[in-house]
Subunit: 455 residues, 2 copies
């Protein structure tokens, strides 16, 4: 650690009042979302049975660059925002790099991650529409914990389907949701057709995010006055997360610098898009040359080894068809500890941007992520979430390149959450019990080849 | 939760530059600390073999009202301070009370509790004196985690004795310490005479804070260039924690109010003293009439049912004799989840203040603390540490009295830490598996009667 370390905060009056909607400014808009049966492009109204109407409109809004953040949401943001932008002098010293490294610290939210930024917004729009019940799924539990907080804040009843293996292995996150008053069910469950079908075929199935999504959607569709919510992947989720990058932009100004490289870990894309898109806007508008790097697990490499294809967002095929980089909706990721990054596909905006060469992606091995996380903890004093360790590892790689070249680049990454609820993973790493997972080309080709049947 | 909720922060330039030393202003000074063998009053020099010299001087400083915070410490404080002062509108609404409730949120520190305030200071003074190694003990692990952070920040080697039952039941906190690079040993261990003696007599002994203190002191005394550190009880620890109350004083001013009641949970007294003493100063100097309430577990009731006596701080009797409210140094507290409050004695300053009627104490049952914590989580969005739940329960009791009387009192309590690493305890509470522990008068008299032999 370094006592020079510098933290930048914004005055409450400086906290952004609008989200940034990159869809309205992309050189190539995302391809349309298709109806799963008719294969026709969807309109926002087609999503109303599943999502709150305003969220469905945000999902497909390709015209409004700025979307105002309602006052009720801004008031709840102010409980923990602005989050600090920190110059990582300690990490720079540990790496002996000429690079200037900054991180945006989203771990200070009361649930410990950036997920709250969209949870509050989604709960608000549901409440405003008069909805009483919401459903969702959660893997590692970060999203479920955030939505439990938000549902409680707006007086909504929440049912969470939690991937069974996490429900059993991560009782802490389950207890957080229950403490906030949410009802948590391990998935697959017997409470839905999707769950019953899977359990009938395989009674010992440990669950997956895809299955849990199917269950949560099914419950929402079959329950009066109930809507479904999702913590990543979708464009409206990423929209809400742009509060991260918009704050960071003002804070970098306070620091008197502008990033050459912006990095986020990558699961569905909301934290990556949240920190990146407000800066990417200046690449689009002012010909800035910032590089944007999505850091994904090498064991779940949709951006680096997947294909750009129409695919389902869930396992059963309830969701619309999304044009995205995917490993196939039947791909089962290895059981890495970064549970939030174990998803087969990428959001449609990021997928289009990657296809158009406006951003890059790197795959990181599990052991590298924890090595980077421990170095960060020892040099900056914050134990990062296993997901965030991917961004840290990518930032360290770039800083090491600067050391070789002597370049004084400015690197900004998003610390999406802290790891205080993930210490079992660190324990395994310290004990030498963690491993890397290698995927052969055949492993990857298998599920992708099934995609041809979809469209 | 309530969207009116208001958070007060200080500008970096407003963060206090001095700690407040109440010893210099107390109407009755604490009685002297005595040598365990000779029973003679100790001088600071007598503590130099165990503690860093500056800390030993602070321990007995009864003349300087203000002690400057060195710049290196202030720089590390700035990584997470000021901590927010929050008007708890959500809790007020849930209680339907006319009281104005504020809490100081120390849970935002990177290790999740107030302990870091003194850990940074102690590590700094050790480093400044050229010491290379430090030792300590930890129960639940909050102090050990904080000191691991601080030791790493100043490049010190740290050995932690962790109470064996916690070492096995709370691997998360152990892993936090190890991630920061500390060496953690379950206590009792075979690495010290104190540990060996206890294990020889009782091989299955699960450990206690008193035993772990004995081991940590013994290791420090037998290791070259090594000092011992302690996370509570002692006066220099409480001194460092006054940063909490000094900030809160400025923040209450921003809110335009002054507290009628100040509340802290009580283990050894450092978090309680930290929030209280800066306000108590105005009771001493300006005849303010603020009430100060220490909230202790009813199962470890040294303030409410103990005696004011000279006693040892540890089990083996290595420490000096301290004039304090105590249950006897052989008292074994029930295995409540608020591990940080399971200590037999109170600091000498608080003990004198309680004896002089300048503060009050209440005992709270375990089930009441968790009931209060869940209400706080659901109304304020932060899951509190089991220790902090004692302060919340006491604040709720006072707010309920205001509801009966119609008084609009201003209540301030310290949220000493978050409970994200203590979810197993919440899980048990939600499942109905937690119990209260009752102490009979005989239980209490037993260990106290042995005190007569000491002095």
């Amino acid at each position: 650690m370094d006592s020079k370390r510098k933290k930048y905060l914004l005055e409450e009056s400086e906290i952004p009042t609008h989200w940034y909607n990159i869809q309205a400014e992309m050189p190539n808009k995302p391809l349309p979302i298709l109806h799963p049966k008719t294969k026709e492009p969807l309109k926002p109204e087609d999503l109303y049975p599943i999502f709150a109407e305003e969220l469905a409109r945000q999902e497909m809004n390709q015209t409004d660059v700025w979307i105002e953040i309602p006052e009720e949401i801004r008031n709840l943001y102010k409980n923990y925002r602005s989050t600090p932008l920190v110059r990582a002098y300690g990490l720079e010293k540990a790496l002996d790099t000429p690079a200037h490294i900054y991180f945006k610290n989203e771990s200070v939210s009361p649930v410990g991650s950036h997920k709250l930024n969209s949870a509050i917004a989604q709960a608000y729009y549901c409440k405003k529409q008069g909805i009483s019940n919401i459903t969702t799924e959660t893997g590692a539990g970060q999203w479920g914990a955030a939505l439990s907080y938000a549902a409680r804040a707006f007086g909504l009843e929440l049912a969470v389907y939690m991937v069974k293996v996490s429900y059993e292995q991560k009782p802490y996150r389950r207890s957080i949701m229950q403490t906030f008053g949410a009802q948590v069910t391990p998935s697959p469950s017997m409470s839905t057709r999707a769950g019953k079908d899977i359990l009938t075929a395989n009674p010992n199935y440990q669950g997956s995010l895809g299955t849990a999504i199917s269950e949560a959607i099914e419950l929402a569709m079959n329950t009066p006055n109930c809507k479904y919510t999702l913590g990543s992947v979708l464009s409206h989720v990423t929209l809400h997360q742009t509060i991260i990058g918009l704050e960071a932009e003002k804070q970098m100004e306070l620091a008197g610098e502008y990033p050459d490289i912006v990095i986020g870990c990558f699961g569905g894309g909301s934290n990556f898009g949240g920190i990146s898109f407000p800066f990417m806007r200046h690449n689009i508008q002012n010909s800035k040359k910032t590089r944007f790097i999505a850091a994904e697990p090498s064991s779940c490499p949709k951006l680096t080894r997947g294909v750009f294809q129409y695919d389902f967002g869930d396992e059963t095929g309830y969701t619309p068809l999304l044009p995205m980089f995917t490993l196939g909706h039947n791909f089962t990721p290895a059981n890495i500890h970064a549970g939030g990054l174990r998803y087969h596909g990428a959001g449609v905006i990021v997928s289009q941007l990657l296809k158009d060469g406006m951003m890059e992606a790197v795959g990181i091995d599990q052991l590298d992520t924890f090595k980077s996380g421990v170095l960060f903890a020892q040099s900056e004093g914050i134990i990062p979430a296993p997901e965030s360790n991917h961004a840290i590892a990518a930032a360290i790689n770039e800083a090491n390149k600067c050391k070789e070249s002597g370049e004084e680049k400015v690197i900004l990454f998003n610390l999406s959450g802290h790891g205080l609820i993930d210490m079992a993973a660190y324990d395994k790493y310290i004990s030498g019990d963690l491993v890397n997972y290698k995927l052969s080309d055949e492993d990857i080709a298998k599920n992708i080849s099934e995609l041809e049947k979809i469209i």
